[in-house]
């Protein structure tokens, strides 16, 4: 099969090579998916640059952590899945820039035929993450205020919509007039250009100085610590990503502003396992069960079908143009998600 592979760490347009490689073989509780579309993620870029510490990849390796396609084969335990149209996070969270990929059943969800491409390929990462973050962990309520950073991006555009759907007042930050427009179209009451406006002051202005009840923060670093100043009493600050620099994931945060701010730092990790208890005994970490993911996935798909949620796919590109698509994302030129058709 054809696959874009990284042979050494570096910029995507320099280090990705279109190789002919063997089709992978699914192991126990794994599925073989014929990839119809792969959707690009910021963490792909971190992996390609060699900055991503969460997953250890071999070298050379095929990046790609979010795919949509059809199950063509399986290891023991996956028989029921063959033939299903699915979205998935591949095994090890890489391998998706290819015509075929394997994925654990725990990370695979059925995508109904009623949701066509490219929307079908734009749902999994941002909407699951946003749902887990805003609904399950932060318990966002109607009438509360929500600040969404990078509101025109993939995760941000989903978070704005989930906030609006819940009945929250949503404020969003973005870095260009076109992106600000996009935030407003999605339902943000106020769009803040972080390049020329102090977002902390703008939030204070919009909330009578209280700050926001919930912040959805995919940026990290100094944006995160600045956002602490914009949190309300009893607020929930969701740490959902580190787009301004993945190293912030392992750089400590000073507790005092959190304690004196009387708010909560909310961790959210979008990954499902078959058996959360066994997993926590092995790792000390808490991951939700696949069954929980299926329940929220069904609700999400119903809302997308009803038109209440709209995956924002700003770019649809061909497989041959994948490195260029990554480069555009790296330059912050993209809006919403970039879906690569295979």
């Amino acid at each position: 099969m054809r696959a874009w592979r990284v042979h050494e760490f570096g910029a995507p347009s320099e280090v990705l090579v279109l190789d002919e490689v063997a089709v992978p073989i699914p192991g126990p509780d794994e599925l073989l998916i014929e990839v119809e579309a792969v959707t690009l993620n910021f963490n792909d870029l971190d992996g390609i640059h060699g900055r991503y510490k969460t997953v250890r990849t071999p070298m050379p390796y095929i990046p790609g952590m979010e795919v949509m396609g059809t199950v063509r084969g399986c290891g023991p335990g996956g028989e029921d899945w063959v033939g299903r149209r699915v979205v998935a996070i591949p095994s090890g969270a890489f391998g998706g820039y290819a015509e075929f990929v394997t994925a654990p059943i725990a990370m695979t969800f059925v995508m109904p035929d009623s949701i066509p491409l490219p929307a079908a390929a734009g749902i999994l990462m941002p909407f699951h993450l946003g749902w887990l973050a805003l609904y399950e962990r932060a318990r966002l309520e109607a009438g509360e205020t929500l600040l969404v950073h990078a509101g025109a991006g993939g995760a941000g555009s989903a978070a704005i919509q989930l906030g609006v759907h819940r009945g929250a007042r949503v404020f969003a930050t973005a870095g260009s007039p076109a992106k600000l427009d996009r935030c407003r179209e999605l339902g943000a009451e106020r769009a803040i250009n972080y390049r020329d406006e102090d977002f902390v002051a703008a939030v204070a202005d919009a909330t009578d100085g209280r700050g926001v009840d919930v912040a959805f923060d995919t940026l990290g670093g100094s944006i995160t610590t600045d956002t602490f100043r914009a949190m309300a009493f009893n607020g929930r600050h969701v740490i959902a990503g580190f787009a301004t620099g993945i190293e912030a994931e392992d750089e400590g945060i000073v507790p005092r502003p959190v304690v004196f701010g009387n708010f909560s730092l909310v961790g959210v990790c979008h990954a499902y396992v078959d058996d959360p208890i066994t997993f926590r005994n092995l790792t000390g970490f808490n991951f939700p069960a696949h069954a929980d993911g299926e329940a929220l996935h069904a609700e999400l798909c119903a809302l997308v079908e009803a038109g209440a949620l709209r995956p924002v796919v700003g770019q649809e590109i061909d497989f041959a143009d994948l490195p260029a698509g990554l480069a555009a994302m790296e330059r912050r030129e993209t809006v919403g998600r970039t879906v690569v058709r295979i």
Partner: protein, 353 residues
């Protein structure tokens, strides 16, 4: 004639027995928004020690001064803008978190809360800091629900012993840690379902076993660094980790201590909890200048009422280890510093009336 009073003051930082001296000083005047309290009782706090030894202080008072961040007594003078509080029986935070080791003390009216005569001394002096902190943490921040499980560290301490009682009142299952048989016994007496003597046992495997490997829904932690990683490793999915103090290493409060990856992989909420009340204008100033959030006076009044009601109904009790006279302040705070006390130490001033 300038009215004077007795106050335990320090003229230089050091150990309580070395530096606290009984001085005759002028009675302070309440400033705008403040009340003056004729002190009947002084509940000692471990944090008073910081202001005696010269440790961690947000604002460093000018020497010489009297430590003491919490007092109980009768309002005998009101500053500008404070109406209707004269003769009120209150527990209060002192201005600048010092000045309480004295016969009279001033504090912001917003953080002086009414305690009715029906609550006798010394109990009346023991219901403020620990119970408000436990309430803000367990009720406000964590939303602890009936049937959930909470892990309470240093559970025989002031806020820990309050937390056990509030948690039991809420219908939660309590797993407590404490060091030594006296403290373990106190935790059991207060209603803890499981008590772990951390001097003898590693708490993490016990907590996991007691929760069917799920972990606890809420952690009440004012110990900090020494217990944090092991506690997070036995916190459940969607758990709430109350970060309210760093007794085991105060420095980490200002160090890059929280690793985001750990919080994300834990899929938990790391909740900051601070006991501080502010009037609207001060709250706004703190928010604008520092980005911090203090609770409102109205919230404090509501919490105090809940606590007094629970006390009156016999649902909670003041946890008092000893009561001492005003002359014994240095010895009493020294005993606290050396962890010789179980429960709160209340200093009764004069006849305590």
């Amino acid at each position: 004639m300038v009215a004077s009073m007795r106050a335990w003051r320090l003229h230089e930082y050091g150990e309580p027995l070395d530096v606290l001296q009984l001085d005759e000083v002028p009675i302070p005047e309440p400033g705008p928004g403040e009340v003056r309290i004729r002190v009947q009782a002084i509940p000692l706090n471990l944090n008073d020690l910081e202001r005696i030894t010269g440790g961690t202080m947000m604002v460093r008072p000018e020497l010489p001064y009297a430590p003491g961040m919490e007092v109980m007594g009768i309002v005998d003078a009101c500053g500008e803008g404070v109406d209707g509080r004269l003769s009120e029986r209150v527990v209060a935070t002192t201005t600048g978190a010092h000045g309480g080791y004295a016969e009279y003390a001033v504090g912001p009216s917003v953080s002086a809360f009414n305690v009715p005569d029906s609550v006798p001394l010394p109990d009346a002096a023991a219901l403020y800091f620990p119970f408000h902190l436990a309430w803000l943490g367990l009720v406000d921040r964590a939303g602890l629900a009936a049937g959930e499980t909470v892990l309470i560290h240093a559970a025989a301490g002031g806020s820990g012993s309050a937390a056990i009682q509030i948690a039991k009142h809420l219908g939660a299952r309590v797993i407590a840690t404490a060091g030594g048989s006296d403290k373990v016994g106190l935790c059991r007496e207060l209603g803890a379902d499981v008590v772990i003597d951390y001097l003898a046992d590693d708490f993490r495997p016990i907590v996991l076993a007691e929760t069917g490997d799920r972990g606890v829904d809420v952690v009440f932690d004012n110990v900090g660094e020494a217990v944090m990683e092991a506690s997070m490793a036995c916190t459940a999915y969607n758990g709430r980790y109350l970060m309210m103090g760093f007794a085991s290493n105060k420095d980490v409060a200002d160090e890059a201590f929280i690793v985001p990856r750990r919080v994300a992989l834990g899929n938990l909420k790391l909740c900051g909890v601070l006991l501080a009340y502010a009037a609207p204008e001060m709250g706004h100033l703190v928010k604008t200048a520092m980005g911090w959030n203090f609770a409102s006076g109205e919230q404090g009044v509501a919490i105090m009422r809940e606590i007094v009601d629970l006390y009156s109904a016999g649902a909670i009790q003041a946890v008092i280890g000893e009561t001492v006279g005003f002359d014994a302040v240095p010895q009493a705070i020294d005993a606290m510093a050396n962890r010789r006390t179980v429960g709160r130490t209340i200093v009764l001033v004069g006849s305590g009336s």
